[in-house]
């Protein structure tokens, strides 16, 4: 019985999209360009097809890749310097703790914050369709 309820829950799950990126006019222009160039080919083998999607991805996802690499670089710099704070780490044996570059109260706090952001965001995705039943969450 319980299993049935669970699978019912599974069935009822909504299509919630966070990362939905509607296709911009540039993308559609690119598609038409591609289709125009290949219009004389009656049959496209599968390998060529994947190559084409790769090129398409390349054009529209490059800036996103670089944007996320920017913030990852920020994260690396911040966690290596414990968010720019100057502190001397001392182990329990009283030595300078070069063996643990990421250890520190600032880094602990920031990962804790990210943990609670995850919990609250996920809870919000559960509660939001109940609170605003009229709003269409599906893209």
């Amino acid at each position: 019985m319980k299993l049935y309820i669970y699978s019912n829950c599974l069935r009822l799950s909504r299509n919630t999209d966070f990362m939905s990126t509607g296709s911009s006019p540039e993308d559609s222009r690119y598609i038409t360009q591609l289709e125009g160039s290949n219009i004389n080919e009656p049959f496209l083998p599968r390998a060529l097809d994947t190559e084409r999607t790769n090129t398409f991805m390349n054009m529209s996802f490059t800036w996103k890749l670089n944007a996320i690499l920017c913030v990852v670089t920020c994260w690396v710099a911040a966690s290596l310097t414990s968010w720019g704070s100057v502190q001397v780490m001392v182990n329990h044996d009283g030595n300078f703790a070069a063996a643990n570059p990421l250890v520190g109260h600032v880094n602990m706090t920031m990962i804790g914050v990210s943990q609670w952001i995850a919990i609250i965001l996920y809870a919000w995705t559960l509660v939001a369709p109940r609170l605003y039943p009229d709003y269409d969450f599906s893209p």
Binding site: L10, L12, F18, L69, H92, P101, N107, M108, I111, Y122
Partner: protein, 349 residues
């Protein structure tokens, strides 16, 4: 003068062309970028834990590094002055309130900022160029890889930055705030991507179940069973993880760790209960989120500087330092590799 201007414009054109050269696949670009990120992580750790301690040696006559540097006349003094200058010197350079360890840590931070800020600049310029796509040349349309040129530019900039003084860029007002803001953005983005993956996983398996059902009646049940099995596996991972954390990290006197683990436990219960109550999402998404929360709880308590509460804290002998530094490098590079995975970006493509 004309000659100088001409060579400068040539140089600029070369740089622009290399940044414009995007004629590769997404996978090749990602590989090149992650290698560049890993290089800057390695350089940052090298500067922070090998270069700066050499800089702060009291007796430099036995150091091989300083022998090498002094044989290149003048360079050692230029580097020494550049790295010790700026706000580190004004805040920690003199007075008996702080010992020289704080000064060394401050200079170590500027050592981290040198390679990482150049990598940041590098990715930022690449991002701007891929958005606006200036019609400088036809480099963008050529399909060859431009990574050798990009690495060349990166290394020239790194060599240049070693001689740059701290003051204009690598100080408390420049890099720090950009990096803090970017990290906060990354923290939020990480959670959004992970929740998205949790939802998409369930979607994908449900779609397969529906496809099977469309072919033969009730044949999709095996995918639903797979979902339930995955839930059981993830929740048992999660519960055993919490028990392990209580056992190893919550000793008497470690109130901090106890608080963190208990809060994570409450968060998991709250999220799962809310999901079962509202029936809004699926149990698989909740299982993924719960496992992620447990992983983050381990991540927090393993960064506790108190050695009594943290058995994961390494010893400060040479072996421990090498292991600790290489683990840090791998984990940071893995952060870059995993969060740039094509999955979140290609779901819509």
């Amino acid at each position: 003068m004309f000659c100088f201007c001409f060579s400068l414009s040539k140089c600029l054109r070369f740089c622009c062309e290399s940044f414009l050269g995007n004629g590769e696949t997404f996978a090749a670009q990602r590989k090149g970028s992650v290698v560049l990120l890993s290089l800057s992580i390695i350089l940052a750790i090298f500067f922070q834990y090998f270069f700066v301690p050499e800089l702060f040696l009291v007796d430099k006559s036995h150091s091989f590094f300083w022998h090498a540097m002094t044989s290149l006349t003048g360079l050692d003094q230029v580097i020494d002055r550049a790295w010790r200058s700026g706000y580190c010197a004004t805040n920690f350079g003199s007075g008996d309130k702080y010992d020289s360890r704080y000064y060394q840590d401050c200079v170590g931070n500027t050592g981290v900022f040198r390679p990482t800020s150049i990598a940041f600049l590098f990715f930022f310029i690449s991002m701007i160029f891929s958005i606006i796509q200036p019609p400088i040349s036809n480099a963008a349309s050529s399909s060859r890889s431009w990574w050798p040129e990009k690495y060349l530019i990166y290394f020239i900039l790194i060599c240049f930055s070693i001689f740059l003084p701290n003051e204009p860029f690598f100080n408390g007002r420049g890099c720090y705030f950009i990096f803090r803001a970017g990290s906060i953005l990354f923290i939020v983005l990480q959670q959004i991507i992970l929740i998205d993956i949790a939802y998409k996983w369930n979607e994908a398996w449900l779609d397969r179940a529906n496809e099977c059902d469309a072919i033969a009646w009730r044949s999709g049940i095996k995918w639903l069973r797979a979902i339930v099995t995955m839930c059981i596996i993830l929740y048992s991972l999660c519960i055993s993880g919490i028990i392990m954390l209580y056992h190893y990290f919550a000793k008497s006197g470690c109130g901090e760790n106890k608080l963190i683990i208990t809060l994570s436990c409450l968060g998991i219960i709250a999220v799962t209960g809310l999901q079962l109550y509202t029936c809004e999402s699926s149990l698989l998404s909740s299982a993924v989120i719960s496992t992620y929360i447990t992983y983050l709880a381990y991540n927090i308590v393993s960064k506790n500087p108190n050695g009594v509460c943290n058995p994961a804290l390494g010893k400060s002998d040479t072996f421990g330092i090498i292991v600790g530094l290489s683990l840090t490098m791998v984990s940071l590079a893995w952060t870059g590799y995993s969060w740039t995975a094509d999955d979140p970006w290609t779901f819509q493509g």
